[in-house]
Symmetry: C2
Subunit: 190 residues, 2 copies
């Protein structure tokens, strides 16, 4: 998506430690007009998929999921990060290693909000090693629901998470796919 | 807001310990159509306020903030919960006691995203004792910006947080104001 790539080049910052900082428009300050264009594009890509629910994980996925859900006319469900390892039996749960924060979270979704007849589009702001996406996929599988695909704003393609998911048969659509990230040389796209 | 009150009566659950559970439409599963009506109402209420930014706090405030921001045509900034007590000098920060979780969080906003010329509408899903709102107000004050008001989806009016803020001169507009909450007798509105 050209508009998004241009925005990343203009306002994204490469930081040491393989960090792409897009705080100014995606995950601290949020440019809602840009999210609208992103949501519209996800709807175009998954128009025929019969989506019944958008699934994301707190916190920074929630904005893009809500704006996207407007174009599909379906509810959002966001997985919650659980601080306890005691998981209640009324939730689906999965473990997620956070690449950015170096911790493992358990994410949970109440069994009330995902059902076997659901056709789920997973939406998230970032895809790197794919841990969040794998966790969300696991939750959808526990519910016996169908994953119709994943709509990702920015994929760090060189980290392999997207391809891991694609090899598992998940349709992953990323609106910007980063080929390399270097504080000196800048950002290149696939 | 009649639509919201009806929804709370239909789908809200009173739980022991003074908990109003609105997980099915507001803060786990999200009814985006309802959020649209909420956002439209906030825009009607604060139409003349010259809002330049919507400020909320992660996680469950982000959805309502993003949908609301569409009606104002302004960016969202969400305060992040910081796990460390070492606060960097490039952020504004405030301490927030969480009524629900019994912990104190520090919430931070990068200095890049709030400026003295900003006219800030604070948006959140819940207002009880007012701790989150006080923390966000403190951050706006640190930035030297103007708080034009707070748009709240559900205020537990009997817990006093709303009135505390109103006494400080903040215009607080809550779309549903709960007068009492009782697992036996149900929910009553102001």
């Amino acid at each position: 998506m050209k508009l998004l790539e241009e925005r990343i080049l203009r306002d994204g910052e490469c930081r040491p430690g393989d960090v792409l900082k897009v705080d100014s428009f995606l995950n601290h300050q949020i440019d809602v007009n840009l999210l609208c264009e992103i949501g519209r594009e996800f709807e175009r890509l998954f128009h025929e998929a019969g989506v019944t629910k958008i699934l994301t994980v707190e916190a920074s996925g929630i904005g893009v999921a809500c704006i996207t859900a407007q174009f599909f006319g379906v509810p959002v469900v966001f997985a919650k990060k659980s601080k306890t390892s005691n998981i209640a039996n009324d939730v689906y749960s999965a473990k997620v290693d956070s690449y950015t924060h170096g911790v493992t979270n358990t994410v949970v979704v109440s069994k009330q909000y995902l059902h076997p007849e659901d056709r789920v589009l997973i939406v998230d702001d970032f895809l790197a090693k794919g841990q969040a996406l794998l966790g969300l996929s696991e939750i959808v599988r526990q519910a016996g629901a169908q994953i119709v695909g994943a709509g990702i704003v920015i994929e760090k393609a060189y980290q392999g998470g997207g391809d891991l998911l694609r090899e598992q048969g998940v349709r992953v659509e990323s609106l910007a796919r980063i080929a390399s990230l270097d504080p000196e040389k800048g950002i290149t796209f696939m």
